[in-house]
Every structure is written in C-alpha cells, then in structure tokens.
C-alpha cells in the first residue's frame, strides 16, 4: 500500500448544516497536502474538543474538494449519540482535531460497472468512491435506500444516475433496497457478470445485501461499522469476524480482522456475518 501516512491535524469547521431531519453535513478546512484519501477511508474526529477524555469517532470521508491552497473535507453524519450530537453542535469557526486518512477503502474492480448501494446515512463513502472512479468507470448506478424523507437528501453532482428506495414509499421504489435490486436485476438493468457492488450502511442491511449478492454471483465490497477505540490498529478493539480460507489456518488474528486497518471495506464473502453484532 502506498497510501499517504495518516496525520493529526487541527481543522477549522467551515460549515455544519442539516441536510435532512436526521442527516447533517460538516465541512472542514485542511492543508492542501492532506491525503489523498482512497474512497472508503475514514477520519477519526474529536467530536467534543473541549472534553479531553472522550475517544474520537470514525466517519467515512464523503467528499474532498481542492482549491486555493486548501482542501475541503466533507463528512455526512447522523447525530445518534453523545459524540455525534456534540459534533452537530460545533459551529463554523471552531477547530477540532482529525486523524486520517485511515483504513483500507474500496478497491474498484477494473472493467466492472459499479453499483453503489447506500443504506440510511451510509451514503458517505460512496460519494467519494463515485467521485474517484467516474473517469475510469463512466457507467454506473447509485442506489439509495432510506426509511423516508427524514433520511433523504440531495446529492450534489452525483457520479451516476440515482435510484431511490423508500420504506414508506414516499419517493421512488416502495420497499427495501433488496426489493429494488431484485427489480433492477429482473429488468436486466444490473448484471452479475458485468457489474460489481460497493456498499455501505447498517450492518443488518450489509448482511442481507452480502447474502443476496453472493447468491446471485455479484462481486461485492462492504464498508463495515463497529466500535473503534483507536482507528489505526493499536487497540484490537474493532475485531470483525472473517471466514478463514483453507490456506489461512493459523493466520495471525485467528478469525478476527481489524475493521480499522484491514477494513473498514471488506469483500462481502470474507465477512463471517454470524459473528457480527448487529
């Protein structure tokens, strides 16, 4: 891996706005030589800078934008607990500390048309993936599955055409993402022999999607979420159970991998879903 070394930076908050009732976007100013980040990598953010005894929280890099000697880092996040709610309360002009870019991102498969599948607030890393591969993979689809309008936000300059599934039927396909995928497969708009799935979302959705993709022969990569202690491989806190192949017996971490350095993106068939806390 020739990724840039992760760094600790103090970053100014430029914007911190709601996109919907449940989802927000926060934008940081970073030095122009930060990164570059692989799509699917994440940053560890001090959500409550004034309180020195709280761990950082991980967020996927949603977008980076360069310009005038600086880099803008966009995160898309949902205030769900103390840390993310404190982040939501940070104001433009304040600074906080970021560590990153961290982790192993998506590895787009050459020659295969990307189908990006995001559930809930899990659209963030798919945006950076789209941004980075739209040149090499001009064709693709972006599927977005949400409960309803409270999670549904506009995407600025999306890389691919968007299909939406809402559980309440308010917009697009009425139902779950898997229903939408079934429909698209039936219509011949997605195909296991020429397409590849890249996904992010809640673990139960990723589990179901992985089963679905494997059963139908789609290559699939999923970005997993779990609790992080450090985010860069020193605490062994973020263990993800993986299936062990024959030639891996005695592999270094038994059948656990670290979501923060071996992931967060894993091949769908690699994950031992039975052991993932959902």
């Amino acid at each position: 891996m020739s990724l840039p070394h992760p760094r600790i930076v103090s970053a100014e908050i430029l914007r911190n706005d709601p996109l919907t009732k449940e989802i927000r976007e926060i934008v940081f100013r970073l030095p122009s030589d930060w990164g570059p980040a692989e799509p699917g990598q994440f940053v560890q953010v001090e959500c409550r800078p004034a309180d020195p005894f709280v761990l950082r929280r991980p967020f996927s890099i949603a977008r980076t934008r360069e310009g005038s000697g600086e880099l803008r880092l966009h995160l898309v996040f949902a205030p769900v607990g103390d840390g993310t709610r404190a982040l939501a309360a940070c104001r433009p002009g304040e600074h906080t500390s970021l560590v990153g870019p961290l982790g192993r991102g998506f590895r787009p498969i050459p020659g295969r048309r990307p189908i990006l599948v995001g559930g809930g607030r899990g659209v963030a890393p798919l945006l950076s993936l789209g941004d980075q591969i739209r040149k090499t993979h001009p064709e693709g689809l972006l599927l977005f599955g949400v409960r309803g309008p409270d999670q549904l936000h506009e995407l600025e300059d999306p890389a691919y055409p968007i299909e939406i599934a809402t559980q309440d039927g308010s917009v697009g396909f009425h139902g779950h993402l898997l229903g939408l995928l079934d429909a698209l497969l039936e219509e011949g708009r997605i195909r296991p022999d020429s397409d590849a799935i890249y996904s992010c979302g809640p673990n139960p959705m990723l589990h179901a999607l992985s089963d679905w993709a494997i059963a139908r022969g789609f290559p699939a990569q999923v970005s997993l979420e779990t609790l992080f202690g450090c985010g860069f491989g020193i605490c062994a806190g973020c263990a993800v159970p993986v299936k062990q192949s024959e030639d891996e017996v005695g592999d270094e971490f038994g059948h656990y991998r670290f979501a923060c350095v071996d992931g967060p993106v894993f091949d769908a068939e690699r994950v031992d879903w039975e052991g993932v806390r959902e």
Partner: protein
Amino acid sequence: MSGELDLSVRVGSVTLPTPVLVASGTFGYGSESPELTRAGELGGIVTKTITLEPRRGNEPLRLHETPAGLINSIGLQNVGVDRFREEKLPKLRALGVPIIASVGGRRAEEFVETVQRLEGVDGIVAYEINVSCPNVKEGGIEFCQRPESAAEVITAVRNVTKLPLWTKLSPNVSHIGVVAKACADAGADAFTAVNTFVGLSVDVKTRRSHIPLGTGGVSGPAIRPLALAKVRETVRATPLPVVGCGGIASANDALQFLVVGASAVQVGTASFRVPDIAARIQDGMKDFLRSEGLTSIGDLIGSYLDPSGPARP
C-alpha cells in the same frame, strides 16, 4: 537548551532514553503507523502480551466507553510467540527503541516456554510478566489475587532467563504491596503497576453487559488517582523499581507518578485519542524541567513529600 535536559532513567539494570513507555496492548506491536505515533522517540515499547499459542481474542464488542474511562475485553488476541519473533519483532527493532516483551499465559509452564522462545533474540531489554490480565477466563487475574500464584510464575521464569523481569501487577487486590513482596522474593526485578480495574457496564434495555463476557478491564483517566495510590503502595513495599501506569494522559499526570517514586511510566489508553501522546508527554516533561530549573528527570523521581513518612524506611 533542550539538549542539556536529561530524560534518561534507569529501571534496575535497564537504562531507558526517556521515562515514557507505551503500555502493553495499547500500542499494537509497536510498529503500527510509527510516524503517527512518533514511536521512534519513545523511552520504550511494551509489546502486546504474547502467549505461547496464537489467541483469537474475545468476541466483539470489545470496548465500551465510560466517564473518562474505557472498558476493554480484548482477551489477549495475539499472533503467538513464534510469529511475534519472526514477523513483528524485526519491524519493532527497526524503530531503535528499547523493547520490553510482555508475556502471558495460563500456567507457569506457558510463561516459561514463551520466554524460552524469546531468549537470545536481539532487542528485548526486559520481560514484562503479565500475571494480571482480567480478561481471560482461566488464569489471568487469579495469579495476582493469590500472591503465591504470582510468585510461582516469577520463580519459574527466573530459572530460564537472565533478562530483567518486570511483574505487571493487578490493582484488584486488597494489598498490592503483599503481592509485590512475594514477587520480589521470587526474583522479580521491577514492577509495572497497574493493569486495568475490573469493571462492568450494562445496557438497561437488553439487560446485558455492553461486553459479551460480562466484566472487562477499566483504563483511562478515570482510574488515574486509583492507580497512583497503588503505585505509591508498591513503591513503599519493596526496594525494587516501579514503572507507573494507569490513566496517564498528560505530562502532569506522568510527572505525578515519577514524583511518588515510579522510575518510569507507561501510557495506554491515551494513545487512542492522541496517537503521539507519549511523545508529547516527553515534550511536556522537558518544559516542566525547564520551568523548575532542573536538568535531569531523575531529580524528580521519588521527590514526593509523603505525609505518611518516607518510602522504604
């Protein structure tokens, strides 16, 4: 100016370039992201605890945050001594920092066998004998809760190595000094005090522990005053050097441990939030020495004015 400050310390026969080490299990194998952690500048690196066989560790979720603290239940996940020696140690050695190999096991013989496989290997300056891990079902904490068991392990390991043996003590005991004395008599050269405190946190909705195994080990700033009291007790119990550990997150925290008599300190959980905190703590120590007009960190060690009278009377 900064060149004139002497941060070097001795822990028994071992000289360390600075008194700030990183604690076992909180710095991976020491070679993860060395630029981010400034690992090459440290006083020493204590490895993740190594066992004879690889261990897959405990079922997730393994961490739970509490006020100023962290409960962990990693379960000594590690690659085992052979792969440690072949794959991890060479990278670690390349950092040029003193390496203390933390060794764990369920029975005295496992400790012995593990140490034997590390003997003669370049770069290890001491063993830290982990008789105090609360997160494995068999063994673990039991060793420290019965002084004889802890001493038995030390005696057995003492027979197979000439390298210094640091005994990592558990704080979950009535009298840490009694355990320390027993280990000193058995041949320990130094102590690391302390490992994590047993803790529990429950999800009231599911009525389950946040950690599948139930209890875990609590670390972080929350335990710092408790750890400092245990370190002082250990310092007073025997003449052996003590390496202080528990909740250190700033230079001021680290200095408190030195003042009460620790010869060096280890930083654990604080690295998770600030990857290079141990190096920053060293920077802060230098600032403190300058502000006090001191030139050597040694002048601070044991300088505590103890209302109970001097240590080691």
